[in-house]
């Protein structure tokens, strides 16, 4: 740890503004990831002829997407002006890129659903499902770039690990919900996505902590962020083991394990959000790292 006394501040007042985002934003990070992961499961299931899993996953994807849209609009200071997100397409703004990606993703997923439910244009419907599955990885990861492209040190310094955390978490959450909703005999691919996603999630979070170093990692390990981080790890690990080991035979274990894994992913998004708030609150997290950079860079 770097002693606080070395850092000079203006009456310990924050240098950065607190994010104005509320719980709606980390909740969206979860539902957006869940929607993306589920759309990929739907596309894979459709391609391999697993109709049950395809329908189930597409339904989850659309539901999560609907929730995402509501959360995003509700978080705006002027919700009535949400349409201004589509006023321009701005390459320097991850939020602009993400809005368009989400719009395209939603359109494709809805088209795939309509074709299936109404039983019309099956060829185009399959194409729409593939398109949604193709855009989904962008939907799952752009939110990491969105957070990383801020002055908040806990997010920006984790810029190379956050996309992997978000991608892995999207897979684990989508796999978890699919395993919970689908009969074990047809949930094989979802179980594998859950297991691999959960493992990757735990590994990526560990890599993130290492990248930040002890000083900045403290924002993830202390306070509310630390508590949430611990819960996330426990839920993800226990949920994944339960679902993968026991969910193959016993449906109740599949439901419990799958939902616990998804909950671990949701709590993780809140942990990351809270770490950023902690980093913005205390000027030492801004001054310390920048001072050392100044010392090295001249």
């Amino acid at each position: 740890m770097v002693p606080d006394a070395e850092v000079r501040t203006y009456y310990d007042r924050p240098i950065l503004k607190q994010p104005v985002w509320t719980w709606l934003v980390p909740a969206y990070f979860f539902t957006g990831g869940l929607a993306a992961g589920s759309a990929m499961l739907a596309a894979g299931a459709r391609l391999t002829g697993n109709r049950r899993l395809a329908r189930q996953s597409r339904l989850v994807a659309l539901g999560a997407l609907g929730a995402s849209t509501a959360l995003l609009i509700k978080d705006l200071g002027r919700p009535g002006r949400f349409y201004n997100m589509f006023r321009v397409l701005k390459p320097t703004s991850p939020m602009s890129i993400g809005s368009w990606a989400l719009g395209a993703f939603g359109s494709a997923a809805a088209a795939g659903m309509a074709s299936d439910v109404l039983d019309v244009l099956p060829g185009l419907g399959a194409l729409a499902d593939m398109a949604a599955g193709g855009i989904a990885p962008a939907v799952a990861t752009y939110t990491a770039v969105l957070l990383a492209d801020t002055a908040v040190p806990a997010w920006h310094e984790a810029r190379h690990e956050l996309p992997f955390v978000f991608a892995a978490s999207a897979a684990a959450s989508a796999g978890g919900v699919a395993v919970a909703l689908t009969p074990p005999s047809e949930a094989g691919p979802a179980r594998r996505v859950l297991g691999a996603g959960a493992l990757a999630e735990l590994a990526a979070v560990e890599a993130l902590h290492r990248r930040l170093g002890p000083e900045l990692a403290a924002t993830y390990e202390q306070g509310l962020a630390g508590t949430l981080g611990t819960w996330s790890k426990a839920l993800t690990a226990v949920g994944a083991v339960t679902a993968v080991a026991g969910g193959r035979r016993f449906r109740p274990l599949a439901v419990a394990g799958g939902l616990a894994t998804a909950a671990g992913g949701a709590v993780l998004r809140f942990a990351i959000f809270e770490a950023g708030k902690a980093a913005a609150r205390d000027p030492k997290y801004v001054v310390g790292p920048q001072r050392r950079e100044a010392g090295v860079g001249g």
Binding site: K17, A144, A168
Partner: protein, 270 residues
């Protein structure tokens, strides 16, 4: 090295020279006339009347409804009146050359004016709040009762009428100087040299270097101590400069995700 021309980069063809502020904190007397003039001219609402107990600073920080903020720092120092060196500094939006707030704004509400300054178009802003977390100086913020973000406009309306911004006009000691940025930088360098010659060895410019993380600022400062003493980040940067590498990491993560899901379906089939 010539100063960057952000107005030209933003697409202004014929435009006036880049205008800015040089705030020379060595002659600031802490009168807060800048704070008052700014509020009056720009009709900025009241945002809390409180005793903060921080020397003479009852303003606290810049924010949605505080576009000039005078900081007061009391440093014990032998040889000074009452053994205290009193630093005062009027802070303001930096109008960065590479402005993170403007770059991340998804609606195009934040724009670069013909004067090279950065302004929020209030009829466009939908209050997404991205700029608030992007600003490395903690300047721009959302007015909760209004839902939109607000900050210093460098008196865009006054500039269009060839007038000096309200804060600079009201400053009684010319601590806040307004003018073409290149002229201000030359003047500021001379002022640092003269202060150094007088033995004020801590005098340095902040924001005047076009090679810093934000490409230099349109509003820069002469400080007598480290920036963080005034509540300023020592090495500010616009994080959008890292966007290519961040998208690259995201693309690798997205590819891994695709490969992982594909493998899950191509694996054991039963």
């Amino acid at each position: 090295m010539s100063a960057a021309d952000p107005a030209a980069i933003a697409g202004w063809e014929a435009h006036p020279p880049r205008m800015g502020f040089f705030t020379d904190t060595s002659v600031c007397i802490g009168c807060k006339a800048c704070e008052v003039a700014c509020k009056e001219w720009n009709n900025v609402p009241e945002d809390g009347l409180a005793w903060l107990g921080l020397s003479y600073d009852n303003t606290g920080s810049l924010g949605a409804s505080t576009w000039r903020h005078v900081a007061f720092i009391e440093q014990p120092q032998a040889g000074q009146d009452h053994g205290i060196r009193w630093l005062m500094s009027s802070d303001v939006c930096k109008h960065c050359t590479s402005a993170a707030c403007l770059e991340v704004c998804p609606t195009g509400s934040l724009i670069r004016t013909e004067f090279g300054t950065v302004v929020v178009q209030q009829d466009i802003c939908n209050g997404c709040g991205y700029c608030v977390s992007a600003c490395p100086f903690g300047v721009i913020d959302r007015r909760e009762e209004d839902g939109r973000v607000w900050k210093c406009t460098l008196c865009y309306d006054r500039l269009k009428d060839d007038l000096t911004p309200a804060c600079a006009k009201a400053c009684p000691t010319e601590s806040i100087q307004f003018g073409p940025l290149l002229e201000l930088r030359t003047r500021a360098e001379q002022r640092v040299d003269s202060l150094q010659a007088q033995g004020e060895t801590g005098a340095r410019l902040y924001g005047a270097d076009p090679s810093d993380g934000v490409g230099g600022t349109g509003a820069f400062f002469l400080l007598l101590d480290d920036p963080e003493v005034y509540g300023l980040p020592p090495k500010p940067a616009s994080t959008t400069r890292d966007l290519p590498s961040m998208w690259k990491s995201a693309a690798m993560a997205a590819l891994s995700l695709t490969a992982g899901v594909a493998a899950a379906f191509l694996g054991r089939r039963r």
